[in-house]
């Protein structure tokens, strides 16, 4: 090392063991920059998942979680993790005018209930 001088015995050992690592690293292949993370498909469970990207940002992603819930319920024909309004649960969000406030009013739906309808 050029800028640091090991003084005590431990420092000498630190220098010795890291020398090998540095040599290995210097000889290794050039490192590729990490590719950006691109989400595909829905989040797997009812929890904020890909609503935030790896940097914590939300731009360019799906909507925030509470909006996501409604979008999947109402507009999405794809089998989703929430009951769909189109075929099975037309009143599921009837008491939930604003998900941020009223999400407690959304109840669970079981297959039995659906059969009755």
């Amino acid at each position: 090392m050029k800028h640091l001088t090991p003084v005590n015995r431990k420092a000498a050992r630190v220098e010795a063991v890291t020398k090998d690592v540095v040599a290995l690293q210097q000889g290794g292949p050039p490192q590729q920059p990490e590719p950006p993370h691109i989400p595909h498909g829905c989040s797997l469970v009812f929890s904020p998942g890909w609503e935030a990207d790896r940097t914590g940002g939300t731009a360019g992603l799906c909507q925030p979680v509470e909006r996501d819930l409604f979008d999947c319920h109402m507009g999405c024909f794809w089998p989703a993790q929430v009951p769909d309004q189109l075929n099975h649960a037309p009143d599921w969000t009837a008491k939930c005018a604003a998900a941020q406030k009223d999400w407690r009013k959304i109840d669970l739906i079981f297959p039995d209930d659906e059969n009755k309808k």
Partner: protein, 491 residues
């Protein structure tokens, strides 16, 4: 180089270290590795710049462009990264794994309490005073260790030293010399048994000096027994706390016997061990008296172990005063060391040795590991200060100690379990401090000794400065610390 490439991608931030200056040079003491590196101007400038907050490498290079080449700054960053003085600002510092020994550790030092009786009644005594943890007066333990138990202790020490070629026995008390007959016969027995086992064995003891008769002195000198004398300084200081049962001071009786011992016993260096209290904090005066007037080779100081609020407990202001006195003595030590002269301030010697090796301690001491204490009935405890305490027993000298119990102890006392220590730069050297002190102060051995953190950091900083001075101005002096095998001192 990956090290620098991965850094240059983001912001660079400082990792844990403590900076100090000595002999006009800047140094870092890295935490947790305990490595000491000297810095050149460029590395000092990089660290200084990062002290204001994380920066990207190109920012750093630009800031320092007037003083240093970009290439120099880049290689400096790589070196500092390599020794973990800095890292990516958004990355968590590498955590240190908590490693508990997987198999029993060889015993280095066995402290044998040959008696729990004492002919003095020092008011601050942790064994007899207000903070005692074992009832030595009316407890079930014998007041004196029997010869049979002492022999079992020797067998235990030889057995538990495992592959170590050497075993150390320290006789302790009470007043150790009140059981001189057993001590004497045990040394003979131990030498014989060690020779049969093909091991070296050596002995030391701690005494208050009042029972050093000529025949005792003769024996200790002949047998090369290391002697530590508990003494608090000149007469008026010694007699404040180190008194007989009737309150009379012990200086008048101890001093002539110490002189006789020092005159005859030349086979091992003889040290004084001073207990500092609120009332006796004149460290330099004590040191001068014990070395110049009585002739001790070295003197070690330790603040009294006490629950808070005792009359003799050292206050915060007292610790500041103590630190300035220690610094004065440390400066004397440095002057002597630069001229290759001996100086008997043993506290600094011990700390310099630890800095020199760069030990990063997982535990504050060897208690329950390489060091154990035996009570008069043969129970083995964490150390001599817990000898006889049922709550801190690991086994007996006859049946051995329980490795499971030792492991459980190691699990709960590891420095990583001491939350307060995790942000302290002095933890590689302190690791939370004495278990007995913590037990006395806070009622638990697992607690760090928070009442003297400032003092430990202040003192470690001073020792680092002295170490740096010596490394620059008289590096040959530090070679004496190369030897790892130094008998543990107990107090």
């Amino acid at each position: 180089m990956i090290a620098s490439t991965s850094l240059s991608a983001g912001q660079i931030g400082l990792r844990e270290f403590h900076s100090f200056e000595a002999a006009g040079r800047r140094f870092v003491y890295l935490v947790p590795s305990a490595a000491v590196f000297a810095l050149d101007d460029c590395s000092a400038a990089v660290l200084e710049s990062l002290a204001h907050g994380p920066r990207a490498e190109d920012e750093l290079t630009r800031d320092l462009a007037e003083r240093f080449d970009a290439a120099d700054v880049t290689s400096t960053i790589a070196e500092l990264h390599r020794v973990r003085a800095l890292g990516r600002a958004d990355g968590a510092p590498a955590s240190v794994p908590k490693i508990i020994p997987l198999q029993p550790v060889p015993l280095q030092t066995l402290v044998v309490n040959v008696t729990n009786q004492c002919n003095l009644s020092c008011t601050y005594c942790y064994e007899y005073g207000e903070d005692k943890i074992v009832d030595t007066e009316n407890g079930r333990q014998p007041k004196f260790m029997s010869e049979a138990t002492a022999r079992d202790a020797i067998e235990f020490a030889l057995r538990e030293s495992r592959d170590n070629p050497r075993a150390h026995i320290t006789f302790f008390g009470g007043e150790t010399l009140m059981n001189f007959p057993v001590l004497k016969s045990t040394i003979g027995y131990a030498r014989r048994r060690a020779a049969e086992a093909g091991k070296e064995i050596d002995f030391s003891l701690t005494t208050n000096a009042t029972l050093l008769r000529p025949d005792v002195i003769e024996f200790l000198a002949e047998e090369r027994v290391g002697v530590t004398i508990s003494i608090d300084g000149p007469e008026e200081m010694q007699d404040k706390f180190r008194v007989f049962n009737n309150g009379a001071g012990s200086y008048a009786m101890a001093a002539p016997k110490i002189k006789a011992l020092l005159a005859r016993h030349r086979s091992r260096p003889i040290g004084a061990r001073v207990t500092l209290t609120r009332q006796t904090l004149d460290v330099r005066r004590i040191y001068r008296h014990l070395t110049d007037e009585l002739g001790f080779w070295e003197v070690g100081f330790a603040p009294v172990t006490t629950a808070p609020g005792r009359d003799y407990a050292i206050s915060d202001g007292g610790f500041d005063h103590l630190l300035s006195q220690f610094r004065d003595l440390a400066a004397e030590y440095l002057d002597a060391a630069l001229q290759n002269r001996h100086h008997g301030f043993s506290n600094i010697r011990e700390t310099l040795q630890e800095i020199h090796h760069g030990h990063a301690k997982a535990y504050p001491c060897g208690a329950g590991l390489g060091l154990m204490g035996v009570s008069t009935d043969g129970n083995v405890a964490l150390c001599h200060r817990f000898a006889g305490s049922d709550d801190h027993t690991l086994g007996t000298v006859r049946d051995g100690v329980s490795w499971e119990q030792q492991q459980a102890f190691l699990e709960t006392h590891h420095v990583s379990s001491k939350t307060d220590c995790t942000t302290c730069w002095a933890r590689p050297i302190c690791a939370g401090g004495c278990y007995h002190e913590a037990h006395t102060r806070y009622g638990e051995t697992t607690r760090p000794n928070l009442h003297y953190c400032e003092w430990i950091r202040g003192w470690t900083h001073t020792c680092l400065e002295i170490y740096g001075e010596l490394a620059e101005r008289n590096p040959a002096f530090l070679r004496q610390f190369d030897d790892e095998d130094v008998a543990e001192k107990v107090s």
